[in-house]
């Protein structure tokens, strides 16, 4: 088993040996379900998961940083970062191992929303392709938020500070694509710049996937976000690990 897998295995196990995983899963699943039905799932009279997926960006803004905040902040606070980086493991392997473990944890959380899928399949005849692309988009978006959370977890030893900074950064990425924000920006920015801001936000790329369209530009966007923030996390860790 190479070093990346060792860190991956350890991190994934640590989610489930503490109450963190269970508290997170209960809260996430409760709100995912609650918001779906509150937003008018029955009133729409359509067997699809639109109301489920449309709430995920805002739910992730708060939930994903809570899963990410401990990744590096706790290591630095407890001092175990000194153990980790005196073992034969590179910073990149450690960052990727932790990232993939947290991402798999979020994938598990998403997969536990399967009762929603069963519900719509029972109630009607949903487009399964739309549901699949919706989940793929959700997973990629979770990965994007998680990469941002990893970075801010490496920035501060204090988990609360990491959480707050991650939430703000993730919120910027989500709200940048909201119609109200774009309308406000278009009152003083040229159209090209407003389009650029819209293109930078998670919302537009996620909306596209929700509609069942898997375009290269949307996949590439999320991959670039993940790669960029993870690379930044690696750099900041190298600077700050001994601080």
């Amino acid at each position: 088993m190479n070093s990346l897998m060792a860190v991956f295995k350890r991190e994934l196990k640590s989610y489930f040996t503490t109450p963190l995983a269970y508290v997170f899963l209960v809260i996430f699943l409760f709100f995912a379900g609650y918001l779906t039905f509150k937003e008018g799932f029955y009133e729409m009279r359509q067997a699809d998961m639109r109301t489920f997926f449309m709430n995920l960006p805002l739910l992730f803004v708060f939930m994903v940083p809570s899963a990410a905040m401990r990744l590096w902040a706790e290591e630095r606070k407890v001092g175990s970062i000194e153990l980790l980086f005196t073992l034969p493991i590179t910073i990149r392997q450690a960052v990727l191992g932790k990232f993939f473990a947290a991402w798999l944890f979020l994938a598990i959380a998403l997969s536990l929303t399967f009762p929603m899928v069963i519900t719509v399949c029972y109630l009607g005849d949903p487009d399964i392709g739309l549901i699949i692309t919706g989940y793929i988009g959700s997973l990629l978006m979770a990965g994007g938020f998680l990469a941002i959370g990893c970075f801010f977890s490496a920035v501060s030893k204090n988990q609360v500070i990491s959480f707050v900074l991650s939430v703000v950064a993730c919120a910027v990425f989500v709200f940048a694509g909201m119609p109200t924000t774009l309308n406000y920006l278009s009152s003083f920015m040229p159209a090209g710049l407003v389009a650029a801001v819209e293109g930078m936000s998670f919302q537009i790329h996620f909306d596209s996937m929700q509609r069942g369209v898997l375009e290269f530009k949307d996949l590439a966007y999320f991959v670039l976000i993940i790669v960029g923030w993870i690379a930044a996390c690696t750099i900041i860790l190298d600077e700050r690990k001994a601080a």
Binding site: V7, R10, E82, F85, T86, P88
Partner: protein
């Protein structure tokens, strides 16, 4: 080529110069005691050798591997026990050692042999299934020692290895270090001068990031005609007053 060669290592943290041109060599079969007052630069020097932090200038090699060019090979060749014996509090002792074996790629029968050797050696049999956060300071240190020794490295860097241990455990660990010192290269940092006498074949006294003395405990006592305690005070105080005169 010496097992450990340190050449003019320097490291600052902002305006604070932690290590200021430290050089020394350590051979196989030597146990080097790093002595110095608090803030002398001992831990910083050890962290640079263990490739946890990079030096601002200078270099070092461990088992022929350069700390700047081959940090992973350096870490593979050495066992490092940090000052506070860091570990993962939510893991059990067994789970933690399994993780270290995973990272060090000790698998299957080799892992079983390593654990069968190390667990009784560090006397952690009784706490093997306990979570690390529930252990006393002494047991945490023993677990830290176990992870440093599990891969039977050629080089050991131990930062205050007996800190927090009871007198019996201190005796056992010193006996272990003395035994391993015959065929390994060991650097021990300590404030306990009895330990230097008991275990170390060489002594370096560091203060303000600089090597003041590189000698053996017996030679130091003979030259100064007093115990190590007094030698330490004389040398570190002399350095302090020399600095005061210069300033």
């Amino acid at each position: 080529m010496s097992v450990i060669e340190v050449k003019e290592l320097r490291r600052s943290f902002g305006s604070v110069v932690a290590v200021d041109g430290v050089s020394f060599k350590v051979e196989k079969g030597q146990v080097l005691g790093l002595l110095g007052p608090n803030g002398a630069g001992k831990t910083t020097a050890m962290r640079m050798l263990a490739c946890f932090i990079t030096p601002d200038s200078g270099t070092a090699s461990v088992c022929g591997y350069d700390i700047l060019k081959n940090p992973i090979e350096v870490r593979r060749s050495l066992g490092y026990l940090a000052e506070n014996s860091p570990a993962y509090p939510e893991m059990t002792v067994g789970g933690f050692l399994d993780f270290v074996c995973d990272v060090r790629q000790i698998k299957g029968a080799d892992r079983k042999r390593a654990l069968d050797r190390i667990v009784p050696m560090c006397s952690i049999d009784s706490v093997y299934h306990q979570t690390i956060e529930t252990l006393s300071k002494g047991y945490k240190r023993r677990v830290g020692l176990a992870q440093a020794l599990i891969h039977d490295p050629e080089v050991l860097i131990l930062d205050e290895p007996t800190d927090g241990l009871d007198p019996n455990q201190k005796f056992e660990v010193r006996k272990l270090i003395a035994k391993m010192g015959k065929d390994k290269c060991i650097i021990v940092s300590t404030h306990i001068l009895d330990e230097v006498d008991a275990v170390c074949s060489r002594t370096i006294i560091i203060a303000r990031g600089r090597v003041l003395v590189d000698s053996t405990p017996a030679q130091l006592k003979a030259e100064h005609g007093c115990g190590l305690d007094a030698v330490f005070r004389r040398i570190t105080k002399a350095d302090g007053s020399k600095d005061a005169k210069t300033n």
